[in-house]
C-alpha cells in the first residue's frame, strides 16, 4: 500500500502535506479509474476505496446514530453495499456523494431497526467517545487540561442536542456543517431537492440555536 493513503485523522490523506483533493486519485479521472478497477474485482483497489472513505462514513454514522460501535458496524454495511452496487454507479454524482447517500440510508434503516425494537431510546455508553479527539492529533492537542475538558463537554452537549433533532434535520445538519458538503451535494446525498435542503437546514439550525442557548450565551457547560 502506498504511503499516500495513510490517514491523518481528519479525513484527508498524505504524508507530504498535500490534501487528498490534490492527488490525482481523488480527481474525476482518478475516481473513475478507481471505480473501474474495483469493478474488475481488484481487491487492492477496493481496499483503497474503503480506506479513502472509511473515516467520513464512520464519522457521519457516529454523528447520526450517536453511537461509535453502531457507526463502525454501519460502516461495514455501507461498504458491503458499495461493493455490491458499484456496478450500478453511473458517475452522475461524485463517488463520495454516492457513498454518503448509501451511508445516510443505512443509518436511517439502522435507526428504524432499533426503533422497532424499542431500543432507540437507550443511552449509549460511549458519549465520551463521541467527544473524544483522535489520538495523537487534533487542533486542541496543545490546549490546557481545563480548556480540553471544556471543549469535550461542549462537544458532548452539541452531540446530545443533535440527537434530539429529527433524523431529517440531523442528517442535513451533519452533512452540511460537520462533513462540509455544499447544499447541492447534500441534496444529492439525501435524494431531495436543493430547496428542501435549504429549508431543512434553516429549521435545523434554528432548533440547534434554541437547544444550545446556554452555550451560545457564553455560559460554561454544566
Amino acid at each position: 500500500m502506498s504511503k499516500w493513503f495513510e490517514r491523518d485523522g481528519r479525513g484527508t490523506v498524505g504524508t507530504s502535506g498535500m490534501s487528498l483533493e490534490a492527488r490525482p486519485l481523488s480527481g474525476a479521472l482518478g475516481e473513475r479509474d478507481l471505480v473501474a478497477s474495483c469493478r474488475t474485482g481488484d481487491a487492492e483497489a477496493f481496499a483503497r476505496l474503503v480506506q479513502l472513505h472509511e473515516a467520513m462514513v464512520v464519522n457521519l454514522a457516529g454523528r447520526l446514530l450517536g453511537n461509535v460501535e453502531e457507526a463502525r458496524d454501519v460502516a461495514q454495511e455501507v461498504f458491503l453495499q458499495v461493493y455490491k452496487r458499484l456496478a450500478a454507479f453511473e458517475g452522475r454524482s461524485s463517488l463520495k456523494t454516492w457513498i454518503y447517500r448509501i451511508a445516510v440510508n443505512q443509518c436511517h434503516n439502522r435507526r428504524r431497526f432499533w426503533h422497532r425494537r424499542r431500543r432507540d431510546r437507550e443511552t449509549p455508553l460511549d458519549e465520551q467517545l463521541l467527544a473524544r479527539p483522535l489520538p495523537g492529533g487534533g487542533p486542541s492537542a496543545a490546549a490546557s487540561p481545563y480548556d480540553e475538558t471544556l471543549r469535550l463537554e461542549r462537544a458532548r452537549r452539541v452531540q446530545a442536542a443533535l440527537l434530539e433533532l429529527c433524523f431529517e434535520h440531523r442528517s442535513v445538519l451533519v452533512l452540511r456543517e460537520v462533513e462540509g458538503l455544499s447544499c447541492e451535494e447534500v441534496a444529492v446525498a439525501l435524494g431531495v431537492p436543493e430547496g428542501t435542503v435549504k429549508s431543512r437546514l434553516s429549521r435545523a439550525r434554528e432548533a440547534m440555536r434554541r437547544k444550545l442557548a446556554g452555550l451560545l450565551d457564553g455560559g460554561s457547560p454544566r
Binding site: 485523522g9 479525513g11 461509535v68 458491503l80 473524544r132 483522535l134 460537520v178
Partner: protein
Amino acid sequence: MTCQLVQERLSEWLDGELAMGVSLAVSEHVAACTRCARHSQELRAVTGLLAELPRLESVDPGAGPLALRLELAGGNRRPGLALLFRSFVAGRPHILPSLLTAAAILLLAIGAILAFDTGPLPEVRTTATWATAPVSGTEGNPLFPSAEVMPQQRAALAPEALQKDGEDSVFLETVVARDGSVAGVTVLQGDANVEQALIDALRQQRFEPVRYRGRYVAVSVYRLISRMEVRSPRT
C-alpha cells in the same frame, strides 16, 4: 423588511445563498437591528460548534482493517439456500424469499388437493317427489334408497283422522341414515291430525342403506303420500 422575514432568511444569508438584492436588504437590517444581529451571531456560533466536533475514530484500534473485516464478514460469499429458508420470525427476515417460500408451499398444497380429487360430486335432486322419481336404486337414480325392508307399516291414526273420509295428501321429508334407519321425518305440508301417527309409522321403516362410491351415505327422501284411505274399524 421585518425582523421575522429577516430571521427566516438568516440561514441562507449566512451561506451566501440569497439573491443579491435580498442579501443586501438582510445585511442592512442586521446592521441596524441588534436583535437580528444577535440572532445571526448565534446561528453562526451553532455552525461553528458543529464544525468543531471532533472526528471519530474510523476503526477500533484492536481490530484489523475494515477491508479485511469486510472480506471476513462475507462480502464475497453468496447467501445461497439460507435465504430461502430464513425464518419468518427472524429479526431481519428477507421479505421476498419468504414470500417465495410461502408461494411454493401454497402451490404444493393446491397440487396435492387436485391430485386426490376425482371430480365433482353428481348433482343431487332434492326436489324430486316420490311419485315422479325414477325407480329407486337404478342407474339413473343411484341416491334413492333401493327398497324398504319393512314396507308394510300400519299407522295408528288419531280418532279425528278416523272420522274423516275422502282423500288427503302429506308431503314429507325423510332422512335415511347410513345404516338404513330413519333419522328423522319432517312434514313439510299436510294435515296436522295425521302427522304424528304418520311420523311414528315412518320412523319404524328400514331402508336399504345407500352406497355412494363404496361408502354408505345419508340421504333425504321427499315423499308425497296421497289418496290415503281412511277406514273405520267397524266397517
